[in-house]
């Protein structure tokens, strides 16, 4: 029974694809399996993984959020701008708290429109994304800040461990990975063991049924979008620290990749399904795919074709799985 469940799970196939793909890339280019490349991949997926956790929650609830890169950019840019202008010397925690709080407020704006006015989530977040980034670029600034508060620079140098490669390059795994682990555990716990988590699944499964079952839909929607705003703010600050500069536009456009990754990881765009493990695996798959094009000798301008194909194939497979013919076989889980 357990074996059967394993083989029918989406995570299993994503993991299998990752292994297959890694072996393929590794056989073409030996550089893939070096510790340096692995650390680069991990480093490159930190911010995207935090985004994926938020996107997962939204997609399970039956929504779609495209405003998180704008929220992340807004939060981190305002935070770094304020902190550098007052020559901030304190702890990095203050920066995180500030970015998180700004993200939370912006998330609340999304939640208000989605919850009280029952507007479609895609259209609301398209609108707010345009508002947030427009406001930031028009009134706060467009210039990249390359001098960050010292505590943020220290944070970016904080590594869990370091490896020196043969050609004397030092690769370090940033401590920010721990933030991803902590948030992943938190989201997993919320989704699996709390009433609000069950409410998110119920809402995505059938809104009316969830309402009749006694779930407070407004509370759930407010929780989802403010939480997503909060972790987007955190992700923005992590991004700025790791890049060691604060650029208001670099994150814009990542939303599609993240949504693709989460859907590849088995979350259903129609709501009600999705797991943390699946989303993280989906994200790893997308990151490996896009980062390894160069290792495979494919010019980087092929990247968008590959991402597009990934979305279409990934969603095509999940769409076929839940088509009426298979519905009976699937209802078991």
């Amino acid at each position: 029974m357990k074996m059967k469940k394993l083989f029918s799970s989406n995570e299993f196939y994503v993991a299998l694809t990752i292994i297959g793909l890694s072996l393929l890339i590794g056989s073409v280019n030996k550089a893939f399996f070096t510790a340096g490349n692995m650390i680069d991949l991990a480093r490159g997926s930190i911010v995207m993984a935090i985004f994926a956790l938020g996107t997962l929650m939204v997609i399970i609830s039956g929504g779609i959020d495209v405003s998180f890169p704008a929220i992340a950019s807004f939060s981190m840019y305002v935070t770094t701008k304020v902190l550098t202008s007052c020559n901030f010397q304190g702890s990095v925690w203050v920066a995180f708290a500030m970015a998180g709080a700004i993200g939370l407020v912006l998330g609340l704006i999304n939640a208000t429109f989605i919850s009280f006015f029952k507007l479609p989530t895609l259209i609301v977040t398209l609108g707010t994304a345009s508002m947030f980034s427009g406001f930031m670029l028009a009134f706060i600034g467009v210039r990249e800040l390359s001098i960050l508060p010292p505590s943020m620079v220290d944070f970016s140098k904080l590594n869990l461990f370091e490896i020196t490669s043969k050609d004397h390059f030092v690769y370090g795994l940033p401590a920010a990975v721990l933030i991803v682990v902590a948030l992943a555990l938190l989201v997993w716990f919320i989704l699996k063991y709390t009433m609000i988590g069950r409410g998110i699944y119920a809402l995505g499964g059938d809104r009316v049924a969830a309402e009749r079952a006694g779930f407070n839909i407004h509370a759930i929607l407010f929780f989802i979008y403010s939480f997503v705003g909060f972790i987007s703010g955190i992700a923005g600050l992590v991004h700025t620290s790791l890049m060691r500069n604060s650029n208001p536009v670099t994150l814009i456009g990542t939303e599609l990749t993240v949504i693709a990754a989460v859907v590849l990881g088995g979350a259903r765009i129609s709501g009600g399904h999705g797991t943390v493990l699946g989303s993280i695996l989906g994200l790893l798959l997308v990151t490996i795919m896009t980062n390894s094009l160069i290792l495979l000798g494919v010019p980087s301008y092929w990247q968008r074709v590959v991402i597009g194909l990934l979305i279409v194939i990934g969603t095509g497979i999940t769409a076929q799985k839940r088509s009426p013919k298979r519905a009976g076989a699937e209802s078991g889980c």
Binding site: I64, L119, G127, S133, A138, I307, G308, A319
Partner: protein, 343 residues
């Protein structure tokens, strides 16, 4: 006798009735007029000039045509996020076709043949891209948002691969006529948009396809049981959307006299904004061409007006996002109130 009277009444008041029945449209007329008045008051010496109207008539057709492409997919309850990708890919193919078929110092007839070939290629590309979207949505059952999100990346990606990310220049002058010249006082892009709006209103209101489209958008299951082939309808609609997007792509290429893989990425948001503002219900079934035209004009008044007042382009993004949400909220409140009154 009495029926005769009502007919006269109807004829007299049909316009008013039509407007009051469609509350969204009436509100939109008011909003359009208010914004026009506001901009005229804020900068009367520049907004109310022939030059301004002339330049506006060159600017809005490209996203106006894209909005029509977006609208018909939204009538089915779907969405087409790939229209800008299709427009750019078709534009790139058309530009390459012109560069390859028209040698230096070609005769006028040779040039015109080359342009015709390029236009046909662009149209075929657009219809083909739309066909792919339609198949993914209707046959493989991928939700339209995701299918077109994927194909948007894919089509743009192909355009990037073909051009290696560079813009294509050096197109014949005869082609840029489409984008930059006027017939009488009417700029060609404006005439193209007007023709499309007219054709679309005929298509939606006077043909079987239009009736079926509204029916399918209102209730897909009911439409299916009344004998409509929903799969075919969806494929046709996305093909039409792709075809129209490709023609918008040609207008863009002609206007900028160049083809680029990632031109006008903000047009996707604008097209959705216009459709929603124009009263198209994102869940399908409702929406009029008159609404789309009004929404296109409103957005153009806003953006030209803000430009004259010296606001940055980024401020425009802010305002557009705000307007989108504002209109949705207003529609929600009005529709809610009407629903309550009916109860």
């Amino acid at each position: 006798m009495s029926s005769n009277e009502t007919r006269i009444d109807l004829a007299k008041f049909s316009f008013l009735r039509y407007m009051s029945r469609d509350g969204n449209l009436m509100r939109l007329v008011l909003i359009t007029a208010a914004i026009f008045a506001l901009m005229s008051i804020l900068s009367p010496d520049r907004f109310l000039t022939f030059d301004n109207f002339d330049s506006m008539a060159y600017q809005f057709p490209e996203f106006g045509i894209l909005s029509l492409a977006m609208m018909i997919t939204m009538l089915t309850g779907g969405i087409d996020l790939s229209i800008v990708g299709i427009a750019n890919l078709s534009g790139v193919f058309a530009a390459l076709m012109m560069l390859h078929t028209i040698p230096d110092g070609a005769s006028t007839s040779q040039i015109l043949t080359g342009i015709m070939a390029a236009v046909l290629l662009a149209m075929a590309t657009g219809a083909g891209c739309g066909f792919i979207n339609g198949l993914l949505i209707a046959k493989i059952n991928i939700p339209p948002i995701l299918a077109t999100l994927g194909t948007m990346q894919f089509f743009t990606g192909i355009a990037i691969v073909v051009t290696k990310g560079y813009a294509i220049f050096g197109l014949p002058d005869q082609f840029s006529f489409i984008g930059n010249e006027a017939i009488g006082i009417f700029p060609v892009p404006f005439l193209i948009f007007a023709a499309f709006a007219w054709l679309f209103s005929l298509l939606l209101n006077k043909t079987g396809y239009g009736t079926k489209l509204y029916m399918m958008g209102t209730n897909a299951t009911a439409a299916k049981f009344s004998g409509i082939n929903n799969t075919m309808m969806l494929v046709k609609t996305y093909m039409l959307s792709g075809l129209v997007a490709a023609l918008a792509g040609l207008v863009i290429v002609a206007r900028t006299n160049s083809a680029k893989a990632d031109y006008g990425t903000s047009y996707t948001l604008q097209a959705i904004l216009i459709a929603v503002m124009g009263g198209v219900n994102p869940n399908g079934g409702f929406g009029t061409i008159a609404g789309i035209v009004l929404a296109v004009l409103t957005l153009q008044f806003l953006s030209s007006g803000f430009n004259m007042l010296g606001f940055s382009n980024f401020f425009k993004d802010f305002i557009w996002g705000a307007v989108l949400i504002f209109i949705m909220v207003v529609n929600f409140i009005f529709n809610n109130r009407r629903a309550k009154r009916r109860k």
